[in-house]
Symmetry: none
Subunit: 98 residues, 2 copies
DNA sequence: GTGCCGTTTTCACAGCCTCTTCACAACCCG
DNA sequence: CGGGTTGTGAAGAGGCTGTGAAAACGGCAC
């Protein structure tokens, strides 16, 4: 699965940025995978939470936001200046290479 | 849902003008969706308010008017010169492509 | 069991964005 | 004209998001 300079191989628990492996935790990789499977689309917190955490989203839960922040940090370390994860206020997040 | 050069996909939180995504807020998208679902018909403020705000319309509330103005601005940026939202004095608003 | 260590979850606060309301201008119609 | 209706910029309040840090959790070695 490829999005811009990102390549994700969920079956190998592996994510690459410009060919270099990212050091991600399980949750981080699951979240990135969920976004990558839906790249270009806006995905709600509800959908992300239900897919990654495999349980009903409790409103006011901030887990998704916290992990989005961590992914952004790691992606920015690997690929400075690129903005892969976009926030859509009131809707959710979107992964894309532009 | 298509009206002229507008395409609206509420389930994806997305509205396109000539294929390009519009940057809308939640309320703006809800209002545009409500108008699009009724395109070609005159829709009263009461109806728009009850659908989008999900509560009883208080007369003299100007929220609908303010959001119509914002939608017009954003639609005109995306599709200059086109007039999609028409005012029917004393009755309400109507969305159409002519 | 106990201690360690990396991960996950929760909390708190700051900053930002949107929504609502207001005020005044412009407009419509008798 | 005159009175009601609509257009719209601006501002404050409230809600949403970003994020560092603390607390809770869980696996592993001893």
């Amino acid at each position: 699965m490829v999005v811009g300079e990102l390549e994700i191989r969920p079956t190998e628990y592996l994510a690459l940025a410009s060919g270099r492996p990212l050091r991600l935790t399980v949750r981080e990789l699951d979240l990135l995978t969920a976004l990558a499977e839906r790249h270009g689309r806006i995905v709600s917190r509800e959908e992300l939470y239900s897919v990654v955490w495999e349980e009903q989203y409790r409103k006011a839960d901030r887990s998704v936001d916290v992990y989005i922040a961590r992914l952004r940090q790691k992606l920015d370390e690997a690929l400075p200046g690129r903005a892969y994860i976009h926030t859509h206020f009131g809707f959710g997040y979107r992964l894309s290479s532009d």
